[in-house]
């Protein structure tokens, strides 16, 4: 560069060219500045114009002159200088024809590096030139700044503002008519990246290996890229080789591909595995996978985060593949629903049960003293299960006077059910002539419901007129309609003045209607009755099993609710036999169970000892009970869970149902006596015994997963911007809710997605299940 010391305009340029000196030195180029004496009018100093130029010489030959404004920084200096020097190595093209000519000339001979830079003198331009300096003798470099050319080279939507570099595999190309295969460099154009890219392009497409993948190292791994192994065996070698090449082309520049012959290497891996992945990271073991098509291999590399996921899924698949087949989500696992649907073809004997409709409902209720109404929905399994029991009840009650069994299908008459405030299915109510009704709140079983209907026929509480009636009532002989019916009776004894207590008792009786019969006696001679049973009014007399035992209970609390609670509690047996039906009543006490499992009735001795224990101890502490395995065979299931096999019977257990869930077994060598049990219980309390079992604390989670439609939608229709709301920052509302978007929507996104899966790309057939997974969305054709 020639300059006149006085010219200030040259100063910025001087700085830049001085800065470039070091960079240019690497390429054997020296920077010289010549201070032109004022009087010098030689070739370079003289002309006014010349001072705005820099000159490039080789030896004493002038190669090129540059206007100084083209050399605005180090990058532009280096780029332009190298561009001038590497005139043969880097061809500049402007038209597609030029490019094709070069390409055709290279076919079968050498490869081409095609670079597009938006402008010369940029950092990218410099990087390309620097690379050309190194590789210019190996590959033909072609440079352009024409955006149209980039478009013509098959880039659909090129971003013309950023530079791009394509490696064109012309050396392998044989067909003159076809353009060379291209591999675009994904990274930004820097010297290092270009170097790396060219290095990768130079590496063999598929490496064949015959050693443990852990030991293999290729250029890819050295450059920090993963290496994919396609596992091959002799029989499928040809197909595997093709697959490997196909994958390699897809992954060129992103990962290496190696073909590993399993026959030559003794690998301790699953036979089904067909792909292995080795990452450049130190110490990460090679992962073996079972993939189904080449797309998966590619996603595997492109989205490394998925590796773990696919792997996990796979492991799971391996473990419970068989189970999964049987354990499908679409198989019914609800015992009630399944039982009902298996029973649906059987015609139910419903002729005893009157069908009520919106029109007939009210008139029908007036016709009989008591109408039992089952509200149900004909599609709902629990209702239908109850309907079956209901037909059995109808059979039991056939011919009973004053009771009519009816049903309302809420699926037919939603208005009626809403009006009657029936919000749950099933619901059973007993309507008494007129307006009053009682809701059935007991077990949905034939026996329980029958008994409830029978007991609620008698008004509750029943007002007893004479002392004889009261005695008969306690014996279960009065009222006569219940005499053949086993039931407990509660008799309230009041003196005439005790209005408040009497009213409360009446209310309590109402609430308990159907569960227990209640009667009340408040005649003048009530005292005689109370004296006989040694209670003072107000009091209750509780008669069980036909009046053989009558208990007197003083009424201290006066509210109806308290009375209900008390009566319910008093009705519990001291040493009950636990059944499926009565367990809930004892569960409500929320106490540990001391339970004697017996195959059949319990022995007299055990019974006596247990009863003594139950009576002797304060009843608050635990529930003493027994279970007849003959009557309640599910008890076997319970024992099996506790002990795996059924131990010898009878068997006494302490079960902490509500706290901790420990199960303790009374030593079988000891006899069941009150004393033995008490001392055992002491030891339990002291923590000296080891529980035989502990009840599972597990939560009731969903038995099986649901169909993940959200994920299916995302996979099938990735264009659907499901995530927008989360990802996008401050973009405005995409569409007003009422916008007329439906009309102009893109052609079916679904079909697009379907087309996405190009056929013939799946991995070779050695992978089992390959075909099995190909299940397309089955659609109903015709019917």
């Amino acid at each position: 560069f020639f300059y006149v010391s006085a010219s200030p305009g040259a100063q910025p340029f001087l700085e830049q060219i001085e800065n470039s000196a070091e960079a240019l030195q690497d390429y054997g180029i020296s920077v010289v500045k010549v201070n032109c004496p004022k009087e010098d009018v030689s070739r370079y100093c003289g002309k006014e114009n010349a001072l705005r130029k820099a000159y490039l010489f080789r030896g004493n030959m002038l190669i090129r002159e540059f206007p100084t404004d083209a050399l605005f920084d180090v990058n532009s200096v280096v780029a332009n200088v190298l561009f001038a020097l590497l005139f043969n190595e880097v061809k500049y093209v402007e038209t597609l024809a030029d490019l094709q000519n070069i390409e055709n000339a290279l076919k079968g001979r050498s490869n081409m590096v095609f670079a597009y830079v938006p402008a010369t003198g940029t950092a990218e331009h410099r990087a390309v030139m620097e690379a050309a300096f190194v590789y210019g003798t190996v590959h033909q470099f072609v440079l352009t700044t024409e955006a149209t050319l980039l478009r013509d080279t098959g880039n659909d939507e090129p971003d013309v503002s950023s530079a791009r570099l394509l490696f064109c595999h012309c050396q392998r190309a044989t067909d003159l008519a076809q353009p060379c295969r291209r591999t675009a460099m994904g990274q930004p154009l820097t010297m290092l990246n270009i170097h790396r890219h060219l290095k990768l392009m130079g590496a063999p497409l598929v490496t064949e290996v015959a050693e443990d993948p852990e030991k293999v190292s290729t250029v890819h791994l050295q450059l920090g890229l993963p290496l994919v192994f396609i596992l091959s065996q002799k029989e499928t070698y040809e197909a595997d080789r093709r697959t490997a090449e196909f994958v390699a082309w897809q992954l060129l520049g992103k990962a290496g591909v190696a073909l590993l012959s399993r026959d030559l290497v003794d690998l301790n891996i699953l036979l089904r595995s067909n792909v292995a992945l080795k990452t450049p990271d130190e110490g990460v073991p090679v992962k073996y996978l079972v993939l189904e098509d080449t797309d998966e291999v590619i996603t595997l590399v492109e989205d490394k985060s998925k590796v773990g996921q696919i792997q996990e899924d796979d492991e799971e698949d391996e473990e419970d593949e068989d189970e999964k087949e049987n354990n499908n989500q679409d198989i019914q696992d609800d015992q009630v629903v399944e039982a009902v649907s298996r029973d649906k073809k059987r015609e139910l004997p419903l002729e005893q049960i009157l069908v009520l409709t919106e029109e007939t409902f009210h008139s029908a209720l007036l016709e009989t003293a008591r109408t039992v109404v089952l509200f149900y929905a004909s599609w709902e399994a629990v209702s239908l299960a109850v309907l079956r029991s209901y037909t059995e009840v109808a059979d039991h009650l056939k011919g009973t006077q004053g009771v009519l069994l009816a049903r309302v299908n809420c699926w037919d008459w939603p208005g009626l059910c809403t009006k009657e405030n029936v919000t749950q299915f099933p619901t059973i109510r007993i309507y008494e002539k007129g307006e009053r009704w009682v809701m059935y709140d007991g077990m949905w079983g034939t026996e329980e419901l029958t008994s409830f209907i029978m007991l609620s026929r008698v008004s509750c509480p029943l007002k007893l007129a004479t002392i004889e009636e009261a005695e008969g009532y306690l014996r279960g002989e009065f009222p006569s309609e219940l005499s053949s019916y086993h039931h407990a009776s509660v008799l309230g004894v009041f003196s005439t003045a005790m209005n408040e207590a009497r009213e409360a008792f009446e209310e309590a009786g109402n609430i308990l209607s159907g569960h227990v019969t209640t009667g009340m006696y408040f005649e003048d001679d009530a005292l005689a009755l109370s004296r006989k049973y040694m209670v003072s009014p107000p009091a209750l007399l509780l008669a069980r099993s036909g009046g053989r035992s009558v208990e007197g209970i003083a009424l201290s609390k006066q509210s109806a609710q308290d009375m209900v609670r008390m009566i319910r509690y008093e009705l519990l047996d001291i040493f009950p036999e636990i059944t499926v039906q009565n367990l809930p009543r004892y569960l409500q006490l929320r106490k540990p169970f001391l339970i004697l499992f017996s195959d059949g009735d319990i022995g007299e001795m055990e019974s006596k000892e247990m009863l003594k224990l139950a009576k002797g101890r304060p009843r608050q502490a635990f529930v003493a009970c027994w279970l007849n395995l003959k009557k309640t065979p599910v008890g076997y299931g319970v024992l099996k869970v506790y002990f795996a096999t059924v131990p010898s019977l009878p068997l006494l257990l302490w079960v902490n149902l509500h706290a901790g869930g420990q199960v303790f077994k009374f030593p079988s060598e000891q006899t069941i006596t009150e004393m033995n049990i008490l001392s055992w219980l002491e030891k339990l309390k002291a923590g000296l015994e080891i529980p035989s079992s502990t009840l599972s604390e597990e939560d009731w989670k969903p038995p099986l997963p649901a169909y993940d439609f959200l994920q299916m939608m995302e996979t099938a229709v990735p264009e659907v911007p499901l995530h927008t709301s989360h990802r996008r920052g401050d973009t405005p509302a995409p569409e007003s809710p009422g916008g007329d978007t439906t009309v102009q929507r893109e052609p079916s996104q679904e079909t697009k997605a379907e087309k996405g899966g190009t056929p013939g790309r799946d991995l070779r057939g050695t992978v089992p299940r390959l075909a099995a997974r190909e299940k397309q969305g089955k659609r109903h054709s015709e019917l």
Binding site: Q335, R342, Q424, P702
Partner: protein, 675 residues
Amino acid sequence: LSLALYTGSLCVASSAAFLYHDYCVIGAGPSGLQAAYFLQQAGRDYVVFERSHAPGSFFALYPRHRKLISINKQYTGKCNSEFNLRHDWNSLLSHDHRLLFRHYSRDFFPNADAMVHYLEDFASLLKLQVQYNTAIIHVTLEKDEQAWNGHYFLLTDQDRHNYKCSSLLVATGMWVPNVVNFPGSEYVEGYETVSINPEDFAGQTVLILGRGNSAFETAENILGVTNFIHMVSRSRVRLSWATHYVGDLRAINNGLLDTYQLKSLDGLLEGDLEDLAIVKDKKGKLHITLRFYLENRNTSAGIDSITLPQDELDNFATRAPYDRVIRCLGWKFDFSIYNRSLRLMPGKGNKKKYPQIKPSYESRGTRGLFILGTASHSVDFRKSAGGFIHGFRYTTRAVHRLLENRHHGVPWPSTVYPITQLTNSIIKRVNEASGLYQMFSVLADIILLRENATAFEYLEEYPVGVLAELEMQTGRKAPNGLFVVIMEYGRNFSGADKDVFYYNRAVGEAQHAWQSNFLHPVIYYYKHLPTEREMKLRPPDWPLPRPDAVHHIVEDFLTDWTAPNAHILPLRRFLENCLSTDLRNFFAESCFFFAFTRQKLPPFCRQGYVGMQGLVGSEGLRRHAVEAGLLEDYTARDFSGDRTPDSHDGSQNQLLRDHAIPVRPLQHLVNAKDE
């Protein structure tokens, strides 16, 4: 100046004689009466103003050819009254069974007179407060801090009577005919007045402007007697069976399409009416030309100097002269009576005929002003049924519920159920609810979960567009997540150019339910109530923002979603996975078993069995469950050396064992797949 004087005089009169009502309803058409019904039921102070002497004055005149295109289905094979409303497009909602439209007409497409009669009965039988012969000609606001909405609505009728209301429900419908002005538009007859006697068209050539149902209805009427009919409109014909939108061309009216496509002289053309011009020649024939030619001619010359398109393009489509041109361009909302202060603005684009409202049907400009009925259709224009009786009867109810909550502290009606009823409640509603069905993608049932998912609260038919405001609008709280039950067509199924008869269009399997095309229930699950922002940023043509999980119940040919395995089971799995619990039903015996072997019980046992409502089940059912491998049969156990000698028992066991071949251990049932 005259306007200023006019408004001035009004102000003077204002303080004098205002009749006050909490609610004023303008218009005693279907939506006005529907609103009146709900207000009356709730015991509110309201009045309906009707300019005519009877309700439904629009129907007294329209449709001109008297055939309603809303279906009146007499039979569905079901007696479920709620379900039947899905196929009754004319009745309004009421408790009175006499007021079902099928009692008024036996025609599938009833005569409009039946509607007039029906609306009269609806108003009189229910004793609705309608003030007839009262045309509201001006509506303005009076600011008042005390008022419900910070202002009162002041209404003036034709006799200068004044009314004052706290809340204004506009149910005036769409009755102002759309007209286009172009040179020669004076020769155009309007749908409102055109003859409906086919005789009058005998041997004539007719051009119809417009492509809606009124245009086709007009064409249908004269199809047999005209030389030919041409129809011109800017947009392509949209067939309602392809778009699933009842406002598009209904098959009952499309006779002209048949004759067009079967080369019978009639025809359809697309073109912008704004560019047209009509020229009448000396014989009284009407020629179509372009506005462009008229603007360029020298004004002095006569009719013959006007360039006709065929002068330059001798095969111009509408070169044949017409005897008549009829305008059938539909109607728009009457904006004229509202003072500027109400800021009742027309919508944008193809919704400019409607006033701008929020998805809550409240005006965007004025709080307390709600648009009801067909004028509220901008919320779901060309999507759902909100512009039609069978749609807006539900949206009107929704507006009423919003108002009850806002002004009277009556929260949105809801029912609380135990969680075991969750699957049932959804199945019940998707099978019978008519509001969800008619107002698909607009009204949704909302299920608000209670803490720990032990119970839930069920709200029906809430406008889904204001989901984010749910707590404020309903007075119900949603702190523990919610389900939104809605009905949708397949996303790419409906549209003017879509083939809706393509082979394999129906999805049959539950696992592909999300691809269902026909109307089917969709349940969205949100852990938190979506925010206003999320609602705004939802994907286009999604009614709701991205949920935490979504479930589609597979489309059903009979719209009967009660199949245990295809419909209920996948729904249950979805609900279970959202709530992370087990929603199966169990027989009492299983609950007994769980009570003794597990510290926790599944919800069904907890809420049923433990509360002494266990499902004992009949012996037959028990056996079925055992056969299915879902219940273990312990009576069939064989304990060596422990057998009872009871021969009867033994043989029974044997029998059961033979029956119960695929006995799988109960563990299968118990094994809750955790991770």
